[in-house]
Symmetry: C2
Subunit: 332 residues, 2 copies
DNA sequence: TTGAAAGCGCTACCAA
DNA sequence: TTGGTAGCGCTTTCAA
């Protein structure tokens, strides 16, 4: 198979003109006469000519491609953020490469290294957990010294000089907790399967701060997705609980399931606030009050900032905060 | 900023040897003496040299990059399929470009056209709905005649000669319906928000066939995601319904919500079978019996087949079927 | 064992 | 208005 793609050279030899004439004509240069231009454009169309992007890239030193490096796409936060990024990028003449790290440091390093070599102009990254724990950021620093622009979002590295888009996790959950307290909930339990991540830790601290301020004692239940439900159930059976704050999707679902199994009414017996995709939250019964991280907006913002830097070929060290907000529904 | 990436040329001028010597040394050619090799490799390491992929691509005519073109990543089916694809590709020296079409024909055409030009070696595509309706497949045919390999999955185009990975939608839902009938359900309603897609139509036909065979009359409720709940509720109030088959996530959630609001017990009053991510289904209360399309496996299969074709530089016209299976849970 | 030069597809400069 | 040529970074003959 493989009737290889038409090149300028071929067109040139067919019309018996020079390659540069072809190139100029196709780029609508004023140097070329109208009739010649027409002949060439027509022939190019006939042969379905389209310029080789790789060659363009080599020539210009830019590829008009950006890389999005995220841990996963099954996580609805990242899925929606990616959607936000795409919504911006697709309006430009840039393409997007998406790489999934699955929270592996090695994969993250591999991806960054590989794409640095003339494949992309810049990166949008949600730094993976393992990298944060390891504290090895050389792949990003190398990329920057190679002249790449980087925008980090959600999980960011403060010690890497680049643009960061984050949310106010700590404050948001702290306020949510306060709100529960104001509506007379006293026994508020925090449930989480993401206690190993920085994001999870931030959120837990925010909750604890609010509880402490109200002179209530905090209860933090942490477990793996598979077991979180039984851990919570156990706790609810043996203690009085009138509210649950769930830090992630698994924990949120677990709260609902436990409530149902123990015949507790949401929100009358137990109020629930959780982190679940805004697409799913309203479909739960009752609709789940969520802390909305505005993932779409975060993605959009990150993409916009990166494009800006790419235009000016700069890499600025700054931080933008997108506020999380409480999406009040029936569960609290 | 931008201390541009080190090139062979620079290394050559530092060591005052020729570019070709550097190139050969770095590629461990036997033509180069050990001592020279060592000096060069060492210097390269010092300067953090890594070859420019674009240049490699231009030279070799292959880019070791594949494109995954899917409608969305918020749909858990595609998210998981992508995960399956990545799991295969990331073990090779290929990279993945992900493009989201949002079901737009124009975006699909743009993506394919753009990536054909020396950016990727092959495509994994879930054809978007609009393209299926329009019936214009030239972008794929062009890509093939440009020598690209294509593997389609889920939504495929039979008239495009390429590898296809599909599931047995029709049979799977037909069997699920039969199973409901065997367990004495008579008033089985189908609910769908994807009636415009081929997949939706196939599933509906499978259901209708099973109903007809059992001499039961079929009821098909179709609506938009926002309104499907009220449509179903209305129907359940005015008719006797003892089972619901939901063709998509929105419809599945709607079924649960309606049951709860009308105080119907699942599965005693109403059995439910739906299409929902396997990650979420068990968390519903009660756990939802789903028709599992094995999205991960489909992705893995598609990727494996594409790699195979890329190795042999062929493009074969064949179809692989991955069977959907019933994941029995408590809702039916 | 090393180097010079051509060429991948393209653009852009300079000359004709 | 056209064409020749150099060069982007790399590999690969072929000569030295």
């Amino acid at each position: 198979m493989a009737k290889k793609r038409t090149t300028l050279k071929e067109l040139a030899s067919i019309l018996e003109v020079s390659i540069s004439t072809i190139s100029k004509a196709l780029n609508d240069s004023h140097e070329i006469s109208e009739p010649t231009k027409q002949r060439i454009v027509e022939l190019a169309k006939m042969h379905n000519y389209r310029p080789n992007k790789t060659a363009l890239g080599l020539k210009s030193g830019r590829t008009n491609t950006i890389a999005v490096i995220i841990p996963s796409v099954q996580n609805s936060f990242f899925a929606r953020a990616l959607y936000g990024i795409e919504s911006v990028i697709s309006k430009t003449n840039y393409s997007t490469i998406v790489c999934l790290t699955k929270e592996s440091f090695d994969k993250e390093v591999d991806n960054v290294d590989m794409l640095c070599n003339g494949v992309v102009d810049g990166f949008i990254v949600a730094v993976c957990q393992e990298t944060q724990n390891l504290g090895d950021f050389n792949h990003f620093k190398d990329a920057i010294s190679d002249g790449k622009s980087i925008v980090m979002f959600d999980c960011v590295l403060n010690s890497v000089p680049c643009t960061k888009v984050i949310t106010n996790d700590y404050t948001a959950i702290s306020q949510a907790t306060q709100k529960l307290i104001e509506s007379d909930r006293k026994n508020i339990v925090l449930v989480s399967t993401i206690h190993n991540s920085n994001v999870g830790k931030q959120r837990t601290k925010g909750y604890q701060k609010a509880m402490k301020e109200a002179q209530l004692s905090d209860v933090v239940l942490e477990s793996k997705p598979k077991t979180i439900e039984s851990v919570l159930k156990e706790h609810v059976i043996n203690n009085s609980v009138d509210a649950v704050i769930a830090l992630d999707t698994d924990a949120s679902f677990a709260a609902y399931k436990v409530a149902q199994e123990l015949n507790k009414n949401i929100p009358n017996d137990i109020a629930v606030i959780g982190y679940v995709s805004e697409r799913i939250a309203p479909y739960l019964a009752p609709g789940l009050t969520t802390i909305n991280q505005h993932s779409f907006t975060m993605g959009k913002t990150a993409a916009t900032l990166l494009l800006e830097q790419l235009e000016h070929k700069t890499n600025v060290d700054s931080t933008v905060v997108i506020d999380s907000t409480l999406s009040q529904r029936e569960s609290s």
